[in-house]
């Protein structure tokens, strides 16, 4: 209870400072609106449905691209960890491509796929698939070798080993990878949407800039933060905690 009160207190304090600075008029009110102005703008966006539509568009792209990333990244990571061909030949390519910031894929994507959703999907996938693969591979390497030895001793082989032992044992690492991949995908998506305007939250931001409507820009930023926190904390953190608790990786109270 006390922690919540502390967090809330700091938040209220920051908002108060912000409002105070805005009222003081150090900068033009057009450039530096207070939280009340931003809240009004946010309310307007929600009321006329623009925010809802934008969120749906963005999240739809993100969801599709993320599922593709996971579908490619997890098996790739598992292969990199277990198969010597992948470890020797494919993994260096993965590590090399990882060095490219995801947004750098956009020019190529636009040329390949044209000015449509596929280009953004491509950018988001390329931004997150490698992170997921690397984290999955680390998850496999972090498995206690004793568990693998016991599995072999018990005669567990083939699909029963891969799905019954390997993936569950690597799951804590895989979940971390999924969380990381989501984070990269989110960033890649918004960067893509800002550079290539085609609906979604990125378009709202660009609209705000073109109209020189700072409250609108800030309102969309607040919405983006809220979504990011919601998905990360409420969804991924919960899943990660439950996995770690069941696997016995949490320190007992």
């Amino acid at each position: 209870m006390k922690r919540w009160a502390q967090k809330l207190g700091v938040l209220v304090l920051l908002l108060a400072v912000w409002e105070g600075l805005a009222r003081l008029g150090l900068w033009s009110p057009h450039l530096f609106p207070g939280p009340s102005t931003v809240a009004k703008s946010l309310g307007a966006l929600v009321a006329d449905g623009r925010l809802g539509a934008a969120v749906l568009r963005s999240m739809g792209r993100l969801g599709r691209a993320y599922l593709i990333s996971v579908g490619i990244g997890v098996p790739l990571g598992l292969a990199n960890a277990r198969l010597s061909f992948f470890r020797n030949a494919v993994k260096p390519v993965v590590m090399g491509l990882q060095a490219l910031p995801s947004i750098c894929w956009l020019p190529l994507a636009l040329l390949w796929f044209g000015l449509n959703d596929a280009a953004i999907l491509f950018v988001v996938v390329m931004g997150s698939v490698l992170a997921i693969a690397i984290a999955t591979e680390d998850g496999v390497h972090a498995i206690d070798p004793q568990l693998i030895r016991v599995a072999h001793t018990l005669g567990v082989r083939g699909p029963r080993f891969s799905f019954g032992v390997l993936i569950p044992a690597a799951l804590p690492g895989i979940v971390t990878g999924l969380k990381l991949g989501w984070s990269f995908a989110w960033r890649a998506l918004l960067a893509g949407e800002l550079l290539f305007v085609s609906g979604g939250l990125g378009q709202l931001l660009t609209l705000g800039r073109e109209l020189m409507d700072v409250p609108l820009v800030m309102a969309v930023m607040v919405a983006i933060i809220a979504i990011g926190i919601f998905v990360d904390r409420v969804f991924f953190q919960t899943v990660e905690l439950r996995v770690r608790r069941r696997w016995g990786l949490m320190a007992s109270v």
Binding site: R149, V150, T153, G155, R160, G164, L171, R246, G248
Partner: protein, 310 residues
């Protein structure tokens, strides 16, 4: 019996040195009669280790010219100080280590890699952490090819046998060290392999739990007809559990003594004979731990006096 008469003699005046020594001699001799050198024909052996040597990549000679034949149903304890190659030998029997020299065979056939017919138990319980105790056993049974309907009753039976009833649905991280070991033992028993290989499984448990586990293992072994090879550095544990003790020495790893223990089972740690045999084995172990050059010279004639001869 001469021993008892001499004991009653103590009640009178202070015993003479000669009388005391005679009593000690009699006790040594009667205890040593309980040690018999083991002689097993390799043709009738369940497990046969022939001239096995193993050299690790860093040139350490873990095993040198090891010959061992184990009969079906025996409880063999591999006893020795650290570095004597007992674990290496066990892993060679399991198939996890391929010896650089010699052959290991089971039922006459040379082994090729690990398998559930020779189940290896480690010092860690190594239960799958995302499965409950029941889940762990059912998974092992599924891997063994047991039909689905039979898995749960069989798993529950073995959980009951290791006295873990009521904990079927607990996760491994909620169990204590001893309980994890019992679950691991239940899993090993459920798989029903003919041979159980155990690598100091009770080493990480506290003394009380260790005694309970030893008694449990002994009672289970007496009921089933499994061949067990048990690695330990604890002499008392070896004498408590084993029908046969194989003493090994380090540098290079080799077998020094192979003795059958003729004490009735189930055994108790308070047994006087067991403690005397333990002293004898401990003396041998101290000897083999040091290279010959550093051995302190025994009192001349001491060995003849107590009837020990090599």
């Amino acid at each position: 019996m001469p021993t008892r008469q001499t004991a009653e003699h103590y009640v009178g005046g202070p015993p003479t040195f000669g009388a005391m020594f005679k009593a000690l001699l009699e006790r040594w001799k009667s205890s040593l009669r309980l040690f018999q050198p083991a002689q097993v024909n390799s043709h009738r052996a369940k497990i046969s280790v022939a001239q096995v040597g193993h050299r690790y990549a860093n040139k350490v000679v873990a095993l040198q010219d090891v010959n061992l034949n184990i009969r079906s149903g025996e409880f063999v304890c591999l006893l020795g100080p650290s570095g004597c190659g007992k674990s290496t030998l066990l892993y060679a029997l399991a198939g996890h280590v391929v010896p650089t020299g010699g052959t290991v065979s089971i039922d006459g056939k040379p082994i090729q890699g690990p398998g559930p017919d020779r189940l290896l138990m480690f010092q860690e319980a190594a239960l799958f952490p995302w499965m409950t105790v029941l889940g762990n056993l059912k998974f092992a049974l599924a891997a063994r090819g047991v039909p689905r309907a039979e898995r749960e009753p069989r798993a529950r039976e073995f959980i009951r046998r290791v006295q873990l009833a009521g904990f079927e649905d607990t996760l491994p991280h909620q169990l204590s060290g001893g309980m994890k070991m019992r679950a691991s033992l239940a899993r090993a028993l459920a798989v029903d392999s003919a041979v159980l290989l155990m690598d100091e499984p009770f080493g990480s448990l506290d003394a009380q739990t260790r005694v309970h586990m030893q008694e449990l293992l002994q009672s289970i072994w007496l009921r089933a007809s499994k061949t067990v090879v048990f690695v330990t550095h604890d002499v008392h544990e070896a004498l408590m559990l084993g029908s046969r003790v194989v003493l090994m020495a380090p540098r290079p790893g080799r077998i020094v003594k192979d003795l059958e223990i003729h004490l009735p089972m189930p055994r108790s740690l308070e047994d006087r004979k067991l403690n005397e045999m333990s002293r004898y084995l401990q003396m041998l172990m101290r000897r083999v731990e040091r290279p010959e050059s550093e051995l302190p010279l025994p009192r001349p004639g001491a060995e003849e006096e107590v009837g020990l001869r090599h």
